[in-house]
Symmetry: C2
Subunit: 257 residues, 2 copies
């Protein structure tokens, strides 16, 4: 198995990079954490949309009674949308059985870019080990951990989450059979540096500071949790994201702190 | 001063990113280390060319008697070129007074992309502190440390060199006046992790392994040196790269180990 980490979607040069790979899209603060929370709370599926207009159009096409519009611009809920990008909003009472159409500043674009891959999963600290075990069990030969970053820049929290997935992948694989890139080495080292206080690392990150200022400190507390019980592995199934690996839904959503 | 690190040229989104910034292009193995060595050995200037054909055309335009063609593809000297991309080839006997037309796999492209910046410097471990002091003395408000990476991926050695420049920048600035991005934070942590044995870090890097297999282990020894005496700060002056900060030329080239 060859494991690579790219720190921003712009580093994916061509579809060729993707078609050979299992890609894990990571947007720890907050899109992939929100997708995990939504699916754990019983949402039927999540559809990523690049723009606000596209999200609204998808919702109308599928039927507004079965869809909820979610997402953010500048960290804040989009005007007219049902939900923002806080995992804690995605409770069973609100999302159970619904299709979530989600558009966010960074994560949605990364997800849509990665959809060309042989397999596209959603990763975060919340489900790091579950993602790693899924990849290991699938016998994947090439893994790309694709960080969404922020506005084209590296983000600390995505790099740490990439390292968390990698640490578990190395733990469950025969180390002789694994080769890692320089990017993967950096992510792994970073995770090991921060693993004893992931909350502090997220609070120190650029986007963590912005979210705290906007009043979303509770989202950092939630998203900094490593390996919540029964964490799902969300994956693209056709055009939407569904739970790849089953786990109980509902109760765990109450773990939101 | 705001300091950002981008780990690959593809992460530079637009000219706007550059026009406000002092950009330091880093290709530790080996283009910017070679440029430093060439200028220390008394080369008149270095001209970066994107392709082999462009390099040959520039050499013909300027006059083949005053130019030397240098560079690599796949790590090896290009057929018909005078010089490869090993700093040790660029001795005073060979390059003094000459214009070097250089085309390499990653560094040349990064240099040409960064040429739009307010100021474009060449950095490596060899001149990390000299670059930092030059930036601090110039009162630059925005600094972008732009890693060339390798084939669109992160490279360990460039990330470490970015951290080395950053460590010195933070040492000579009033820390209250400096803000660093998540990418810069990662580079700084990485440098502090590796600074006690930079040779080992370069040998462990993906490109370091390739160069060692190709017989260029001595280049790693040279390029792993932090802050060689009288290291120049190469900078774009018009279309070519010249020494920005004077230092003795000639003798120091003998430091090649």
């Amino acid at each position: 198995m060859f494991i690579n980490v790219k720190f921003a979607p712009s580093m994916v040069g061509s579809d060729h990079d993707l078609k050979q790979s299992s890609v894990v899209v990571i947007d720890t603060l907050r899109a992939t954490s929100t997708i995990i929370a939504a699916l754990m709370a019983g949402a039927r599926e999540v559809i990523a949309a690049a723009t606000i207009e596209e999200a609204v159009a998808i919702s109308h096409r599928l039927g507004t009674e079965r869809t909820l519009l979610g997402g953010e611009r500048g960290g804040l809920r989009i005007k007219g949308f049902h939900l923002g990008n806080s995992p804690g909003e995605y409770t069973p009472e609100v999302v159970h059985g619904k299709t979530i159409v989600l558009t966010t500043s960074n994560g949605s674009g990364a997800l849509l870019k990665a959809r060309q891959a042989a397999q596209t999963l959603c990763g975060a600290l919340l489900n790091a080990s579950a993602v790693a075990r899924h990849l290991a069990a699938g016998g994947t030969r090439e893994v790309l951990l694709l960080c969404s970053g922020s506005g084209g820049n590296v983000s600390l929290e995505d790099s740490i989450a990439a390292g968390a997935i990698l640490a578990e992948l190395l733990a469950v694989q025969d180390s002789e059979s694994v080769t890692i890139s320089d990017g993967a080495r950096i992510a792994l080292w970073l995770f090991n540096e921060c693993r004893n206080d992931l909350h502090a690392a997220l609070r120190a990150s650029e986007h963590g500071k912005v979210l705290t200022e906007l009043g979303f400190a509770h989202d950092l507390d939630y998203c900094a949790q490593l390996d919540i019980p029964n964490a799902p592995v969300p994956a693209f199934a056709g055009s939407s994201i569904k739970v790849q690996q089953s786990g109980p839904t509902g109760p765990t959503a109450a773990r939101f702190v």
